[in-house]
Subunit: 419 residues, 2 copies
């Protein structure tokens, strides 16, 4: 693994059918093209004809929930949360979160994700895991005032924001009110104002279940997106996780306000929320859309290649129309190209951050057919051979350093928690 | 790769939480347990603590359609078949089918599938690929009399049956009438009688689209399962691929007759047929159920681990109930334990055929949580480290011999066909 300040040159990579090299200096792509070759003495990576592609961005997860993987699946959302998740989360220590998040970072880097948006306890431990892993993340402490005082929530919000703001370019802070059912109207207003003042993004679960929508209408006389808008929390710095039940008027409003929806199709199906995020009308309404895995407790994979396919499949199924979404659109959503706020999806060109993947030149899934179609429908994360973040080679030849130790330590923490 | 007649001993494998060895003699498991150790001079495989699990069975595919991967996706079923598939299939040579099927066999062995059911042109070429790959398959030539004479179809059925019957234990013959809309009533009766006479299984696409059901009712006054039953084609040797639109009366009939349904959830979603095979009521009606990928042209992966998860997810989604199916049931379906006709799903014990998988001891997806839940929801086929079929080690350390050459040759054949 090279030094973050060193230069890196990749050669022999396939981009749009052409063999190219990529020269990275100080974490940025300096040059890309057929003429680029490694300078003597610099770190060089030979792609052996593997495809060069942009990485993926996981727009919504709870990284440390790898600790909850494979326990208490096959349950509905509320019993799962109330009986199996929350009692264990009450016992979580920072070190649990660190190793759970390290495992998540390892799995994401292995499968082509170089940036994620996180909402979880002990966010400072997740931030430390992100820095140690070399990945990028936008992180927020889960904020709520049900079951605790608004004052306590405010202290948590301010403390986490201060802590997460000073950690360098790999970690960005966010405010993360859990949901409209776990945070009071007054506290949502306060968080919205704080987000505006500090110019940080706000991520919130919204419209995951039909019950949530019905409860919102009963309590506030309006649907969730309109409720958030009235509180000042719907704008171009807002990420709405799920959005399954957004209706056409809400989609128009979300599009107008410039907010982003992150759809989590696998978690939605696993928890059987019953609906599907209406992607075609959302795009028609100009809504920015990203893709997330949600936490490994409700998925249970963090391989966004798999979820990218699930996203395309469930959109086709829900519309009963195989043309409802095509491979190029699914890939664009997963790579962040349809949601600028997520901080990814920039084309690979001089001046862009040096985050990219080299795919295995031997992957049988990519040997025949159109590349994007194969990436969406045939590939899994195992086609990723090399992962580069900020010009640093974090994985090479499909082998991630320290993986064995990370798996072992995360396993110890899970057993400590009785999982 | 060891000789098929040689003995093999596996040691250090994890089975139900216990470290065991497996001794295989002449393709059969002779002993399994903690006391089993390799004899000097025999081939030995050290599992290093990796899990020992039964392999998966792909109950419905068109193996050589790997050649069609990544081309003309995102189209509805009929235009896809009529405009993009059939014109190319008219040009297929046996050598195309051989290399397409070799690629399919390689991908299946890599991802834990050791047996598949195939329906495709030049079945003798698929059979040759199966033998060369060391996998197992039940193979049928697609039979139809629309667009050609019934006499021509009968010749094809008899010739393929004769050819496929003498190929040793790895290949079993089947009759494969394409569908009720491609085969006349008279020919279906003839095929049913031939199947009974020769005691071979019959596989047929059934109830894939709603249109097919409506057309059947319009033409024959009854739904597809009742139509097949009247023609003598619904019994314990019948495999119905898809079964999306089987209604409760049909499920009761299929259960009573002992026929097997193979569900293909990914292909059904990709082609957006609009419905979901009703698994919970089918099981309640006693229907035998298996899982298939369908051809790589309409999936486009042959990784049954991925489809196993898609199967569980779409069942939960369709029922709007996360308890509609659990991990154990999804795994049982994919491993063949719910469909004896498919020829897999036997528990690993002395006397059973020596077909099994060793999973990677380092797979991060399997380090935390309950094994079956992790296999279904967290794993992909890349967790398979070693694949053993009939006591022969076909893959070791995730590396399949000849893969590079197979990918290259299949690619050449696809380009020859203009794909």
């Amino acid at each position: 693994m090279n030094d973050p300040r060193a230069n890196l040159t990749v050669s022999g990579a396939l981009l749009d059918g052409e063999m190219v090299g990529v020269r990275c200096v100080d974490g940025v792509i300096e040059a890309i093209g057929p003429e680029v070759a490694a300078a003597p003495g610099e770190e060089a990576v030979e792609a052996n004809g593997g495809h060069l592609v942009a990485p993926l961005v996981n727009g919504h997860t709870h990284a440390a929930m790898t600790l909850f993987r494979g326990s208490a699946g096959d349950l509905p959302l509320m019993p799962w949360l109330q009986e199996r998740i929350w009692p264990v989360e009450a016992k979580l220590e920072a070190e649990d979160v660190y190793w759970g998040a390290r495992l998540a970072c390892a799995e994401m880097l292995r499968t082509g994700t170089t940036r994620f948006w996180d909402m979880y306890w002990h966010p400072e431990a997740t931030a430390r895991a992100v820095a140690d892993a070399g990945i990028r993340a936008t992180i927020g402490a889960p904020l709520f005032d049900h079951g605790r005082s608004a004052e306590e929530m405010r202290r948590s919000a301010l403390a986490s924001l201060d802590h997460l703001s000073g950690l360098g370019p790999a970690v960005s802070p966010a405010l993360a009110p859990h949901s409209i059912y776990m945070v009071s109207e007054e506290s949502l207003r306060w968080i919205a104002a704080l987000g505006a003042e500090r110019e940080v993004p706000i991520q919130i679960h919204l419209s995951e279940t039909q019950q949530e929508v019905e409860d919102c209408i009963a309590a506030h006389g309006e649907r969730p997106a309109f409720y958030l808008d009235r509180l000042g929390m719907l704008n171009e710095r807002t990420v709405l996780a799920h959005g399954v039940w957004l209706d056409p008027e809400e989609l128009a409003l979300v599009g107008e306000r410039g907010a982003t929806v992150v759809t989590n199709p696998v978690a939605n199906m696993k928890l059987a929320v019953g609906g599907v995020f209406p992607h075609p009308p959302a795009r028609a309404a100009g809504v920015a859309v990203g893709l997330g895995t949600d936490g490994a407790g409700s998925n249970d994979s963090l391989d966004l290649f798999a979820d990218l396919k699930a996203f395309a499949l469930i959109q086709k199924h829900a519309a009963a129309d195989p043309t409802a979404i095509d491979a190029a659109e699914a890939w664009a959503v997963a790579s962040g190209a349809r949601a600028p706020l997520l901080g990814a999806g920039e084309p690979l060109r001089p001046g862009a951050v040096a985050d990219f993947l080299l795919l295995s030149p031997d992957a049988p899934e990519l040997g025949i057919g159109e590349l994007t179609a194969d990436l969406v429908y045939a590939a899994a994360g195992s086609v990723v051979d090399t992962t580069v973040v900020g010009g640093r080679v974090l994985m090479r030849g499909g082998e991630l350093p320290w993986l064995g130790e990370i798996v072992a330590r995360a396993g110890e923490r899970a057993r400590r928690l009785g999982l």
